[in-house]
């Protein structure tokens, strides 16, 4: 019987983290940011059917980068969790914070125990009734949760993108202006992304119930004009 080679825990974790990071960095990015009417989510995604950004519940949205089948599985779990909780208790008892914790646990669990970690980074966004109550939880492949303030960039490693967004972000921007800032952050310098390359959705603060709304290519083009 052959003996497995000894690998130190440090080495194993470092290898897994490197594997996840490299593969996530290979995918396309997304940004989420506050604007005057709520939260804007914009992703570089040429597909109009395989979404990076989706609705979880009345005021909660989900966004993921990395391996589609893996973050979509997490998205479905989130929708199921939210709908069951809202049915058992009440719609207002479904909160982004508890969902983000569950995602963190689930990702952390698979990072430590599975042979292959999940190659995803996800974002759970909740629009509050006040700007100060907006929540953005950025969850990494190893289960680490970051409570982001006002805006977030996924994957978190994209330093250049983060810098671009940080420099041009301002509080209380109109939707058109905010969208331009988001696209400038997502685009490589000198290669601006067009409406067809983008997936854009909003969490609208003033919505009576379901705050999530996708913007079509026409609407995006009109806003950028």
């Amino acid at each position: 019987m052959s003996m497995p080679f000894y690998v130190s825990p440090e080495q194993m974790m470092a290898d897994k983290a490197k594997f996840a990071r490299t593969n996530i960095a290979r995918g396309r990015a997304l940004v989420a940011m506050q604007y005057e009417g709520g939260i804007l989510l914009a992703a570089h995604n040429p597909s109009s059917t395989l979404h990076k950004v989706s609705e979880i519940y009345d005021r909660i949205a989900f966004a993921g980068v990395g391996k589609y089948n893996e973050y979509d599985q997490l998205r479905q779990g989130g929708v199921r969790y939210a709908d069951v909780e809202g049915f058992r208790y009440s719609r207002e008892d479904v909160r982004a914070r508890s969902l983000a914790n569950l995602y963190g646990q689930s990702l952390g669990q698979s990072f430590t125990h599975e042979v292959k970690p999940m190659e995803v980074e996800i974002l759970v966004a909740e629009v509050g009734y006040d700007e100060a109550d907006d929540e953005l939880y950025h969850i990494l492949y190893d289960g680490v949760i970051i409570d982001e303030d006002r805006f977030a960039v996924l994957p978190g490693d994209s330093e250049a993108m983060h810098t671009r967004l940080k420099e041009s972000f301002a509080g209380g921007m109109q939707l058109g202006a905010a969208l331009k800032v988001a696209i400038a952050a997502l685009s490589e310098p000198d290669v601006p992304l067009g409406a067809a390359d983008l997936e854009v959705a909003l969490l609208e603060r003033a919505a009576p119930r379901r705050a999530f709304r996708r913007l079509g290519d026409d609407e995006v083009t009109a806003l950028l004009a």
Binding site: I56, L74, Y81, D83, V84, F87, Y103, S106
Partner: protein, 264 residues
């Protein structure tokens, strides 16, 4: 609860009730007949007009011969482009509406597209059918489903019986204890391609005549300011008709009856 993640071979799919069964196990069967008066909701109406459909329902709930509730809503949005109205055992009916709304939303979120109108109508039929054991013990729930068909660009109305039978009506329908009177009124006034104000007025009149003949149907309550729920469903979606517009409809109806000398 933990995050409900399933392996591909074990996935409950986009059905909310399948998910609940997976989490909670099957609901316990009800075996004994109820030995008490159950709260009932009464008259509901739906009719087609040029832009879509109008749905309306009175506000009274009864338990035997007493009034259990004066301001119950029987017309509810099912999703953006459809509505469901209920008559029958109120507790089960309201629960059915809640689960039905959730089923449609859950399906839409998980699969990324909304069900077709036909698909929604069939899903409701299955829910009525699953209530059959309760219906056998007198707790019948009869919904009325209507919506705007985004593929065919018309309003459509579906009715149900207690066994889950689903029937599509061409133009209008009314159900519940005052349903027969409301139906007759709507039948006499209905014409193809009615405009919104006439359609709303006809629904209001249907409910008025039902309340006139049926003790379990509530009429307009000017003292408390409680008027029937009326909603329209068009390409723009489900919209509740403002209460003062409904109140004005009743006021016009009463003026008309007085002028004709029917106030004696």
């Amino acid at each position: 609860m933990s995050l409900p993640l399933y392996s591909p071979t074990d996935d409950p799919g986009p059905s909310f009730s399948a998910l609940l069964r997976r989490l909670d196990g099957p609901a316990p069967p009800v075996t004994a007949a109820a030995g008490f008066e159950v709260t009932h909701g009464t008259t509901i109406v739906a009719l087609r007009y040029d832009e879509g459909v109008v749905m309306a329902g009175d506000r009274r709930a009864t338990a035997g011969s007493s009034i259990a509730h004066r301001a119950m809503d029987k017309v509810h949005p099912a999703d953006r482009h459809s509505g469901v109205a209920i008559a029958g055992a109120a507790g089960f009916a309201l629960e059915m509406v809640k689960v039905f709304q959730l089923e449609l939303e859950h399906y839409e979120k998980l699969s990324g597209v909304a069900l077709s109108l036909e698909g929604k109508a069939n899903m409701l039929a299955a829910m009525v059918r699953s209530n059959l054991p309760m219906a056998m013990q007198g707790m019948v729930v009869v919904p009325l489903f209507a919506g705007y068909d985004l593929r065919r660009h018309i309003g459509r109305i579906f009715t149900y019986d207690a066994t889950g039978g689903r029937y599509e009506e061409t133009d209008f329908h009314a159900d519940g204890s005052g349903g027969r009177d409301a139906r007759t009124t709507v039948k006499l006034g209905w014409t193809e391609g009615m405009a919104r104000p006439e359609a709303i007025q006809l629904a209001v009149q249907g409910l008025y005549e039902a309340a006139d003949e049926d003790s379990a149907t509530g009429g307009p309550d000017a003292v408390r300011g409680i008027y029937p729920t009326v909603a329209t469903i068009t390409a723009e979606g489900y919209r509740e008709v403002p209460e003062d517009e409904v109140a004005e409809g009743f006021a016009a109806l009463i003026r008309n009856k007085t002028e004709r000398g029917l106030n004696r």
